[in-house]
């Protein structure tokens, strides 16, 4: 049930930002944008602006956290105070802590952590501007930051949400669609491995709707995966095809 009088989808079936139901937001990715970090990438997905970077593998502090058989992946999802309408306090919220955890769990399966025992990889995702779907865009860009830094990956991880807005199933929900829509299903995926590594849902969907939404999200992931690969190519394969 829509929670507001504003129409999110017009009579032509277009969404408030002019997109079709199965259309992703305009997405730009740049790899290798920071000079200090060991790997970094930047994404603009609609009005989302997100920077990801990591340091490592390096020694673990404090030492007793080190794992004997693999690297310890740490992850911090953090929002700039000016990234949202109402200024956000810099202290991590409960939402920030949950998202840091599920993002870490979404990325872990893609990394050959066993190559670097007793070390840690410290991954930072900075939300400079938030407009719906930041956890997914954060995963998409963080995976590229890891690739940029030469961390060996089983596959890139890509993430995209789908959901239900005013009775229609749509992909890649923006902020308004997320807040006023009926359901939101963020999903992370490794396309070559056919592996879903993040799945959450808010809202209400029948089982049948849910299956369709999962397929929409997977389709979105596949499109974004192409953009991911192109962004790597743009950085590393200057002047030639794949």
């Amino acid at each position: 049930m829509p929670k507001s009088e504003d129409k999110l989808i017009d009579k032509n079936g277009l969404r408030i930002d002019g997109r079709k139901l199965d259309e992703l937001r305009s997405t730009k990715i740049e790899v290798g944008v920071l000079s200090n970090a060991d790997g970094s990438a930047y994404i603009e997905q609609g009005k989302n602006k997100i920077l990801a970077a990591f340091y490592g593998p390096h020694e673990v502090h404090p030492k007793h956290l080190a794992l004997p058989d693999r690297s310890l992946l740490k992850c911090r999802y953090h929002m700039a105070p000016f990234s949202v309408d109402e200024r956000k306090s810099p202290a991590p919220s409960r939402r920030d802590i949950e998202l840091s955890m599920v993002i870490r769990q979404a990325l872990e399966p893609s990394i050959f952590l066993e190559y670097y025992p007793r070390t840690s990889i410290d991954l930072f995702i900075e939300i400079l501007q938030a407009h719906g779907g930041t956890r997914c865009a954060g995963i998409t860009v963080a995976s590229l930051a890891l690739a940029d830094g030469g961390i060996p990956l089983r596959d890139l991880t890509v993430a995209c949400a789908a959901g239900k807005v005013e009775g229609k199933l749509v992909v890649d929900l923006s902020d308004d669609e997320d807040k006023k829509g009926e359901a939101d299903v963020p999903l992370a995926f490794m396309p070559n491995l056919n592996a879903i590594t993040l799945l959450q849902m808010d809202g209400q969907l029948t089982v049948t709707e849910f299956e369709k939404v999962v397929d929409l999200a997977l389709e979105g992931c596949k499109q974004l995966y192409k953009i991911q690969k192109e962004s790597l190519k743009a950085k590393y394969v200057v002047g030639e095809g794949e």
């Binding site: 802590i97 399966p109 993040l198 808010d202 029948t206």
Partner: protein, 261 residues
Amino acid sequence: MIIRIRQKQIAQLMSNGERLDGREFEKYREIKLEMGVIEKAEGSARILLGKTEVLVGVKIGVGTPFPDTPDKGVLTVNAELVPLASPMFEPGPPRENAIELARVVDRGIRESNAIDLEKLCLVPGKTVLVVFVDLYVLNYDGNLIDASAIAALAALLNAKMSKYEIEDGEVKVKPGYIQLPIQNYPIAVTFAEIDGKLIIDPSLEEEMVMDARLTITFEKDGKICAIQKGGTGQFTREQIVDVVKIAEGKSLEIRKLVVKD
């Protein structure tokens, strides 16, 4: 290393269709539920799910609404993994596991509109009732989400609140109590994936070796109202679709334990 060996044993058993405690893959441990155990709380329930024990208390107070929902009461779910429940828990502010637990239970209650929050508004934009749901884990033997979600629903159903009225702009408590307005009954069903196989209601030993976890919460009309994947493993689309169907049936069974017609 010990975990690796245990993992092999459990996987071995599972390849024969067996679990450590003899359960079938899609069978819950015994559920014992007791309501009204804390007289000082507006509502309470204590659950034993096998040896996992959770006490949930509901307190109701007066507060201010969120700016974007000025005509609705406030729901706050908080979880404490108190250290007597497990040698793995430590004192201090909630960490990511406790926060995830609280937020997953919160999502089920919130997204199913289990509490009619509009009935908890006293003065729009100024004064509303705040419902605190405190999940208090007393013994941890696996599957805290399902145990907590069931006990939280039971505690909400058990909750009675004072009658409030506004007189001259001040909140007055009237004599008598009324039921907290509950209009939906979300039930969370959790699976663990071990070595490619899926089992319901994982015990602590199974959680220690599982690759991933998947929780699906159903509301009373059979719609999904919350999902949470946990753990560092992965699922295929097909596994998820299968799990959702099994979970749907399970949620009906469990709901009957909590909600008596």
